[in-house]
């Protein structure tokens, strides 16, 4: 079973990101589950969401405490939330990153400018879709096209086309297959 934790702020589409990833998995014949770290959400507050993907039905409903991957939607959270807590040894952290250099985090860290790409393509600072595209490219869990297909359930026409271009560009900013071994060593 593959377990993923997504950190972000209320309003950044954290739950939507988790739901999109799980929906993509389900559409590709896997079992998946996605849910928020239940809280009284409000815009700007640190929030988290969880995704599980497996080739068997998923029975457990506890929070994800030992993720194989962590996705961070706001680099400022690196200073406040312990985003890498419980990260499995050899696991990967994907960070929306707009600064020089690299974040100070242990482990296998990949950065990409998700918010900037979202601003360019959508005109809004919502990093979730770009991060998911990069995540699928890194892990090769599913073709990046599968994410565009899932977005087609939410967007139509020009909005979908903008998202499609965003997905393509975001996927190209990271090394395809870099996390394939990690992702496929987990039974998903």
């Amino acid at each position: 079973m593959l377990e993923i934790r997504i950190h972000g702020r209320g309003g950044q589409g954290n739950v939507v990101a988790a739901y999109l990833l799980a929906s993509t998995a389900i559409a590709n014949g896997r079992h998946a589950q996605a849910f928020p770290a239940f809280g009284a959400e409000r815009r700007g507050a640190p929030v988290a969401a969880f995704v599980r993907i497996d080739d068997r039905p998923i029975l457990r409903r506890c929070q994800v405490s030992e993720p194989a991957f962590v996705i961070v939607q706001d680099q400022a959270l690196l200073h406040t939330a312990n985003v890498a807590a419980g990260l499995r040894s050899g696991g990967g952290v994907l960070v929306d990153w707009m600064s020089e250099g690299q974040p100070e985090l242990d482990g296998e860290v990949v950065t990409m400018p998700a918010t900037r790409l979202a601003l360019e393509h959508l005109g809004r600072p919502v990093p979730n879709t770009a991060l998911l595209a990069a995540f699928l490219a890194l892990t090769e869990l599913f073709p990046v096209q599968a994410l565009t297909d899932a977005l087609g359930e939410r967007f139509k026409g020009e909005a979908l086309e903008k998202n499609r271009r965003l997905v393509e560009q975001a996927a190209s900013t990271v090394e395809t297959g870099r996390w394939k071994e990690i992702a496929h060593g987990t039974g998903a």
Binding site: V15, Y19, A22, F38, L59, R60
Partner: protein, 389 residues
């Protein structure tokens, strides 16, 4: 093919498949997405239904009651303080023997204020005279919602479908939805026998003197008990139609021959089963999923517990000053059968405390000593002053 749906959205669709004529609700976390989903189906013209936005839960229950009395198929949903605010009406709905369905998205009760999941709210109205069915998965929530209308209408009693707030309501997963044709076959149009009719007036809710009150209450108890075979039949017929059963009165999972049993209600059973399957070094147990809490399936429970040396009861609510809520009822049922396993009764996951995989190991450890008094197994007693430990 499984559809990727948030639990609440799936429940909203399940309600819509039942073609309710009146839905009245007031939003409260974590029930909100269910009634938002229904409201959207109505607004989009996909459900022909009177959607009544009211100013409080008391009114939500009252509108549903009135609609059902007038012969409509009616539905409402609530949680926590909302259940408490409508509790006066909840008792009246049952006492008037009105068939309607309510979803309780289970949440803790204040004070202190908590929006998170346990089952204190539905337990607070367990004596109202409703049928109460608890769901362990979102698939069960979908299937039970549809079954609930049939049970309500055949028994002329209200049915509360209890689903763990957030843990089910806010979780997206792959779910099978029945077709409209299947649900129409399963749940034909209904005519309430005592529907209000200006052409044939009757009185409802009259004063009942001591001359008759005891008989009315006894009859109500018997009516709820008579729902036992209806709940089983509703599940069996649904399974014949869709290929999916939701667990009858109760379901035994895990190792049916194990000498240790764990009885629980709601979504924690999935975590316990996963813990058992993923930790083969730990003993396998008989996992008893109590689905029907009202009526209480004493006979089925005795059969499920036959031959147990230890029975661990996991509660998701407490009765301060007494402790256990489920436990005494389970013990009464088993005493009637003559033999009693050692009963270990604890609560966990109150007010949304995460119930992790290690809960299974902690529950099993209870069997290593004689039963202790009821306690909250995941409370951090070291954080409390000495007198509260």
């Amino acid at each position: 093919m499984a559809l990727a749906l948030e639990g609440s959205q799936a429940m909203a669709r399940a309600v819509a498949l039942c073609r309710p004529q009146v839905v009245a609700a007031y939003p409260i976390t974590p029930q909100t997405h269910i009634v938002e989903g229904i409201a959207k189906l109505v607004a989009d013209g996909r459900l022909d239904c009177e959607m009544v936005s009211v100013e409080s839960e008391h009114s939500a229950a009252t509108v549903a009651l009135g609609a059902a009395l007038a012969g409509s198929r009616a539905y409402t949903a609530s949680s926590s303080q909302g259940i408490l605010l409508m509790s006066e009406v909840i008792f009246n709905i049952a006492g008037l023997r009105v068939p309607l369905v309510m979803t309780c998205a289970n949440r803790a009760l204040g004070a202190p204020l908590s929006i998170w999941n346990d089952q204190q709210d539905s337990m607070a109205v367990r004596d109202a005279g409703w049928i109460q069915i608890y769901c362990a998965t979102n698939q069960e929530a979908v299937d039970t919602t549809i079954q609930a209308f049939r049970i309500a209408e055949r028994c002329e009693l209200p049915v509360m479908v209890c689903v763990d707030g957030f843990t089910l309501t806010h979780t997206l997963e792959g779910l099978e939805m029945p077709t409209q044709e299947q649900v129409d076959t399963y749940l034909p149009a209904y005519r309430y026998a005592r529907a209000l009719d200006p052409a044939a007036p009757i009185s409802v809710g009259m004063l009942v003197t001591p001359e008759h009150f005891s008989e009315v209450r006894h009859a109500h108890h018997q009516a709820v008990l008579r729902a036992l075979p209806e709940i089983e039949a509703a599940d069996a017929d649904y399974a014949a139609l869709t290929g999916r059963a939701a667990g009858g009165l109760l379901e035994v999972r895990g190792d049916a021959s194990a000498r240790i049993g764990i009885l629980a209600i709601g979504s924690v059973l999935g975590t316990l089963e996963d813990a058992m399957l993923s930790q083969p070094d730990l003993p396998r147990t008989r996992l008893i999923k109590l689905r029907s809490f009202r009526p209480f399936p004493a006979e089925a429970l005795r059969r499920a517990c036959e031959g147990l040396d230890h029975l661990i009861i996991l509660e998701r609510a407490i009765s301060p000053g007494a402790g256990a809520i489920l436990g005494p009822e389970v013990v009464m049922a088993l005493v009637d059968g003559g033999t009693l396993p050692k009963v270990h009764d604890v609560a966990a996951g109150l007010g949304g405390r995460d119930m992790r995989i290690d809960l299974y190991r902690r529950l099993l450890a209870l069997t290593e000593s004689d039963p202790k008094p009821f306690h909250v197994i995941d409370a951090r007693l070291e954080q409390l002053p000495e007198e509260d430990r």
